[in-house]
């Protein structure tokens, strides 16, 4: 496993953090003056600073600096291969698994850089859960799917407590009503939409702070998609959510803020309404008008 954080200039990064967001944006004089819009918020859960990601020689992300606000939904949009999934996977260090992947810069979660040596990715992933593009429940029972996280992290003190966690997670994921009488059936026997909600239940069972969703509805039919979207709305009361999506309508429906990525660069970021009604950067306009895609 290669993890290239060593070249990061931590002193400079922390100095930048202390500066006023507005002053900082002004101080950063990148030639293209990217991104357009407000990349920083007053109450961030996650602060990403100067994030570079390389796959071998290919640079996948270039100097990304972006805040993710508490109990907000941030949507990441952009054409295929623009780096939005890569960005997402940097937030819970899933990129560690890729041998050729090298990351530099900092990702601060509650004031702590998750790429610091002292941070254990295992613990991090319990705090930052993830839901994948294709529903991927374990080939085990529904109960076991949800109970797995609490079990490996030792969250439940007793069998009863574990039962409660499973019930509550399924309830929150809006699945309990449909499966309460068949918890010992295989999770893989559910329909696609149910499987994806099971994966969400599995993710929230360990009470994470952040949930990352990588196109969670792209493999689902419109009705299942609608259910997932209303679920995301409910979940944001308790969790910070980052969602990658190809559907601009979906981004419009579920998110408060939207970030537009293009060719590994963060082009524009702002309140979702503003981005869709009044995109300022040319590339964003092209994408939203459907000229890039």
């Amino acid at each position: 496993m290669t993890l290239g954080i060593r070249d990061m200039d931590t002193a400079a990064a922390s100095e930048l953090d202390r500066a006023e967001p507005a002053a900082k944006a002004a101080a950063k004089t990148t030639p293209a003056k990217l991104p357009v819009g407000k990349a920083f918020v007053s109450d961030p859960r996650i602060e990403v600073r100067d994030l570079d990601v390389f796959y071998g020689d290919k640079q996948a992300l270039e100097r990304i600096s972006l805040d993710i606000g508490k109990n907000q939904v941030l949507a990441l949009i952009g054409p295929s291969g623009c780096g939005k999934s890569t960005f997402l996977r940097c937030v819970n260090r899933m990129n560690d698994m890729i041998d050729v992947c090298r990351v530099s810069g900092s990702v601060m979660l509650d004031g702590e850089n998750i790429y610091e040596r002292s941070v254990d990715p295992v613990e991090l992933r319990a705090r930052v859960g993830m839901v994948f593009q294709r529903p991927n429940p374990f080939p085990k029972s529904i109960y076991e799917n949800v109970a797995y996280g609490p079990r490996i992290h030792g969250l439940a003190r007793s069998r009863g407590e574990l039962d409660d966690i499973v019930q509550a997670s399924l309830e929150k994921a809006g699945l309990l009503e449909e499966v309460h009488d068949r918890l010992d059936e295989m999770g893989t026997a559910l329909s696609g939409g149910q499987q994806q909600r099971l994966c969400i239940a599995r993710a929230i069972a360990v009470s994470p702070e952040v949930i990352l969703m990588d196109e969670p509805a792209s493999a689902l039919d419109p009705i299942a998609t609608a259910k997932i979207e209303s679920l995301i709305e409910e979940l944001q009361e308790q969790f910070t959510i980052v969602i990658v999506t190809h559907s601009m309508q979906q981004a419009g429906r579920v998110s408060q803020r939207t970030a537009y990525f293009h060719m590994g660069k963060l082009i524009e970021v702002g309140m979702t309404g503003d981005i869709f009604t009044n995109p300022r950067h040319e590339l964003t306009q092209d994408y939203i008008m459907g000229r890039i895609g």
Partner: protein, 437 residues
């Protein structure tokens, strides 16, 4: 390209005509290919059938053995020469005299040393030992007169089964004399000659006398050898596969290891035998002909098979399962043992059983480490000298006695039966354990 006219698409009618013209040829090709496939399968099946028919036709009578019913006098005078009845004395009793006198009693008018010897040759040399074992198992028999079916000599057996003919012109002449054949006819008339199930074949070790020779020693040797192989190669192979597939970084060293594992799978097995001889026996001083060494050698031979099958099984587990587990915060080890391994297990077990079946049929490397020796005793431990089923088949096929032909084929049937059972087990196991996702 033609410069004078613009390239144009074909008219629909022209295209249709040309397609129809080519259809007949395409269908013909398809039929031809199908027939070729069916022919290939039929040819393969034909050869298998030929093998089975030939082995069964030659070997079924190996499971049978001609016996002679003798009325044996088990008096103390006969067995012990008047010595007291103790286990020690019973063990050393003169059972040969008991068998001989019983045989003599059947034909009281045979006289002269030569004729008597000819008569005694009808009964197996091993008959006295079978009698002894019976008496030792049940000492109550001493002092009684019992009727016992004892195995006949292999020449009698061959003659009675019709495998050796009496006419001089026959391809396989009987080794029995005119006189002996007359005695056999006499025995048959008085219901004292019968072809019965050959228990000795399943309960005895090897012997120079075909009628006394059995596969039990070789079967136990094979079992012990395979036990060592399984216990060593399964955990080692699976652990290697898991490390290489799930943990090892991809670099020049792991590439080298991978290439060498694949090479190892292609090394002729006799080389492994030489290695076993040089390393385990000559260097480490392990005993010759022992199942322990056989197992070690076969482990080396089977490991690549198991590693390659296990890696394929691990690779067939969808990466989404790994991502799901890692995304939940499971460590790599937890991911592998909780999720990947259970899904890969059916494939790993199938690979292991197939590797074991290969090891069971292996002969060449075992010749090198001395498991080809003539061993009568059934092995009791991993270090006892022993042989294995395929080596036993090889040994018998090499023996001059006519009666070993059918025993060779019978042993082949047993070996094939065990192999078929192992492969069936592999299929059933896979079906039982396979999970869908």
């Amino acid at each position: 390209m033609n410069n004078t006219t613009e390239p144009v698409l074909l008219e629909a009618s022209t295209a249709g005509r040309r397609i129809r013209a080519s259809l007949a040829r395409r269908h013909r090709q398809e039929r031809l290919f199908q027939w070729l496939g069916i022919g290939a399968v039929a040819l393969g099946l034909g050869f298998v059938l030929l093998l089975l028919v030939s082995v069964i036709a030659k070997g079924y009578s190996g499971f049978l053995q001609t016996h002679i019913r003798l009325s044996i006098d088990l008096s103390e005078e006969m067995l012990l020469d008047g010595a007291p009845v103790t286990e020690e004395n019973l063990r050393n009793g003169d059972y040969r005299r008991a068998v001989r006198s019983a045989m003599q009693d059947l034909f009281p008018d045979v006289s002269g040393r030569r004729d008597r010897r000819e008569l005694q040759r009808l009964v197996s040399n091993g008959a006295e030992f079978m009698l002894r074992d019976q008496v030792l198992a049940d000492p109550e028999l001493v002092g009684r007169q019992i009727d016992l079916w004892l195995p006949a000599d292999d020449d009698v057996d061959m003659f009675a089964k019709g495998r050796a003919r009496s006419n001089p012109g026959d391809s396989v002449p009987s080794r029995l004399s005119e006189q002996q054949r007359a005695w056999i006819a006499e025995l048959e008339r008085s219901d004292r000659l019968d072809i019965r199930f050959n228990w000795a074949f399943f309960s005895h070790g090897d012997s120079r006398d075909p009628e006394m020779a059995g596969i039990w020693g070789a079967a136990v040797g094979s079992f012990l050898t395979l036990l060592v192989t399984l216990v060593l190669s399964f955990p080692l192979g699976v652990a290697t596969a898991i490390y290489l597939e799930e943990f090892a970084p991809r670099n020049r060293w792991t590439d080298l290891v991978e290439v060498n594992i694949n090479n190892l799978a292609a090394v002729p097995s006799i080389i492994f035998g030489l290695l076993g001889l040089a390393v385990f026996i000559n260097f480490f001083g392990m005993p010759r002909s022992a199942p322990l060494v056989g197992g070690l050698v076969l482990t080396l031979m089977t490991l690549p098979t198991i590693i390659i099958a296990s890696r394929a099984a691990l690779r067939s587990v969808p990466p989404s399962i790994r991502e799901a587990a890692l995304g939940m915060g499971a460590s790599r080890t937890q991911t592998v043992f909780h999720h990947v391994l259970p899904l890969a297990m059916p494939g790993m077990l199938t690979g292991t059983i197939i590797g074991m079946a290969q090891a069971l049929g292996e002969t060449a490397p075992l010749l090198m480490i001395g498991m080809v020796a003539f061993i009568v005793d059934v092995p009791r431990s991993l270090t006892d000298p022993s042989t294995t089923l395929p080596v036993q088949i090889y040994l018998w096929a090499d023996s001059p006695e006519r009666a070993f032909v059918e025993r060779t084929s019978a042993a082949i049937m047993v070996l094939l039966g065990v192999l078929a059972m192992m492969n069936l087990a592999a299929v059933l196991l896979r079906r039982k354990l396979e999970r869908r996702w």
